[in-house]
């Protein structure tokens, strides 16, 4: 597994998509000056901008890397030479996944450091109303990375069964979009107002989806970081466990499906 992981990492670093996306990351440097244009809540704004930029970059990375990594191997016939080596299909899938996950963690770390420097610069020029909670900013970035690692798991699962990159790429994006609103839909379905508009069948279908699809919204701690409000520890821990279990299930399913796949 370690060998596949290292090869995957090397592949990412030498990939053009990666180099393009990383050029985007250079934008973080300009955040303090951009935020200062607003004249009000400059620090809050630069926290928002930094965290959103990081989140967006990680979304791009997780979709492209997660969805194309295995597909590319199959499409370019690398699988014949790799899967026939004395590594199990499970190690192959896990190696790919952890290679990408590790890369996301590294990205989060590097971008996180850059962002914190940007925020520091902003806060020195325009002191915020409430002191910046660095711990919360870090937590927000960590949980964001975690969310995208889970998304990579989704992409791996779709790649394990798909023959084209269409399903993994668009499937992952759709699940991401649905995953971010599923909590709102759930909450809405539990309001009395919804009873009149939504039929029982639709409601039950939506509930099934709610439990089946990943709930990504709870990973979003940005608001807490921006306004320096402490989130509830229990909630954060629950999210952490939820993410871990969900990702593990995705990985197991991917390796099971990929293990039975014919390399024709």
């Amino acid at each position: 597994m370690k060998d596949v992981l290292l090869i995957t990492l090397k592949g990412i670093f030498r990939d053009r998509i990666f180099q393009g996306i990383m050029a985007l990351a250079g934008l973080i440097v300009f955040i303090p000056s951009a935020a200062s244009l607003s004249m009000r809540q400059v620090t809050e704004l630069s926290i928002t901008l930094s965290l959103s930029t990081i989140s967006f970059i990680m979304l791009l990375l997780s979709v492209f890397l997660g969805a194309t990594s295995m597909w590319k191997d199959i499409e370019r016939r690398y699988t014949f030479s790799v899967v026939s080596l004395p590594i199990s299909r499970t190690s192959y899938v896990f190696g790919k996944f952890f290679g990408i996950a590790l890369f996301l963690v590294l990205t989060a770390f590097v971008l996180g450091c850059a962002a914190m420097i940007s925020i520091k610069v902003s806060s020195m020029g325009y002191p915020p109303a409430r002191p910046v909670e660095w711990g919360l900013i870090m937590a927000a970035i960590v949980f964001d990375a975690f969310k995208y690692i889970l998304l990579v798991g989704v992409a791996m699962l779709l790649s394990a069964v798909s023959t084209s990159f269409f399903l993994p790429v668009f499937g992952t994006v759709s699940i991401f979009l649905v995953g971010t609103i599923t909590q709102q839909v759930y909450d809405y379905l539990h309001t009395p107002a919804s009873e009149k508009v939504v039929s029982a069948i639709v409601k039950n279908a939506a509930l099934v989806l709610y439990y089946l699809l990943p709930n990504l919204q709870s990973f979003d701690l940005k608001v807490y970081a921006i306004y320096s409000i402490k989130p509830s520890l229990g909630g954060v821990l629950t999210t952490f466990c939820y993410g871990g279990i969900y990702t593990a299930v995705l990985l197991l399913a991917s390796s099971l499906l990929f293990g039975r796949r014919e390399m024709k």
Partner: protein, 308 residues
């Protein structure tokens, strides 16, 4: 245990399910063994099922029926692949890596210690004449160079069994000769080589035994030597003109004659009679050529029989 059998295939079959329930019977009940130390040629026309067999052996696809073991290990397991150097058909390798990096990756998956691996990488790059390109990404390699990387990566861990799917394809004559030399050298070192091809000449030069597969069925399996010998139809013999009594040979067909020599066609069954007459009548033989049906003819005959 393997009991000296490198490859044991029992009733291996594979059906591909196509669209609209269409089934392709790519391989039907293949049963054969390859003993350790043998060079085995797996000969068959396009679409015969050679690659299908090999993919089953390497666990890339699951056979619909039957089983096989590689040096005693059931196919599809990591342990079975541990003992094999495998070259896929028209191989492709991570093209962002250089040959050197790729070979290191392969060696590590075989859990080779670092110092041994470094030495072997060096050796196999040199053997396949890739030393100059070793640092360049595989992306920049020519087709033949990629094939050479493919061969290098089969040898890196010095396996007991080599399974090569068309090892000579894409190579120039120098490369083909090199591969033949490598195979003969592996044989000398007691290794087993199982390779597929549709070129009879390759088989003739290096193989101990050959199996002919057509439309998923094994149609013939024999020692190359036996086939070659059974294919002998007769001899073309030249005798020196002007020495001895040539009228004694009148019952043999005279192909041509000149002032220097006379050339006779001698059927395989009458060769002894011919030589007896030669010595009895003080004639002198200057040249003997074997006239035989070669492996190619043997192969074509089988393929045509199946087609009929």
């Amino acid at each position: 245990m393997s009991n000296g059998v490198a490859l044991d295939i029992q009733g291996l079959s594979k059906q591909f399910k196509g669209k609209r329930g269409l089934r392709v019977e790519a391989l039907c009940g293949l049963t054969m063994q390859v003993p350790q130390g043998e060079v085995f040629g797996f000969l068959g026309p396009n679409g015969a099922g050679k690659s299908t067999t090999i993919k089953c052996l390497m666990g890339l696809i699951a056979p619909t029926a039957g089983s096989a073991t590689i040096i005693g290990e059931t196919i599809g397991s990591v342990e079975s692949r541990m003992k094999v150097g495998f070259l896929p058909e028209n191989p492709a390798f991570y093209d962002y890596l250089s040959a050197e990096e790729y070979l290191q990756f392969v060696g590590r998956t075989f859990r080779m210690p670092d110092d041994l691996l470094a030495r072997r990488v060096e050796e196999s790059l040199r053997l396949l004449e890739l030393s100059d390109a070793r640092k360049r990404p595989i992306r920049s390699y020519s087709k033949g160079m990629v094939q050479r990387v493919g061969l290098a990566q089969t040898m890196i861990h010095d396996p007991e069994l080599y399974i090569l799917d068309e090892p000579m394809s894409g190579l120039d004559p120098i490369g083909r000769a090199l591969v033949k030399d490598i195979i003969l050298d592996l044989k000398k070192r007691g290794k087993t080589v199982f390779f597929s091809t549709h070129i009879t000449d390759d088989v003739e030069k290096v193989c101990d035994r050959v199996g002919v597969i057509v439309k998923g069925r094994l149609m013939a399996l024999d020692r190359v030597e036996t086939i070659m010998r059974s294919g002998i139809e007769g001899y073309v013999v030249q005798t020196k003109a002007g020495i001895g009594n040539h009228t004694a040979l009148a019952s043999f067909g005279l192909i041509r004659s000149s002032e220097v020599f006379r050339e006779y066609s001698v059927p395989a069954g009458r060769f002894n009679e011919f030589t007896a007459l030669v010595s009895h009548h003080a004639l002198e033989i200057t040249l003997i050529e074997t006239k035989r049906k070669d492996l190619e003819a043997f192969f074509l005959e089988i393929v045509e029989n199946v087609a009929r």
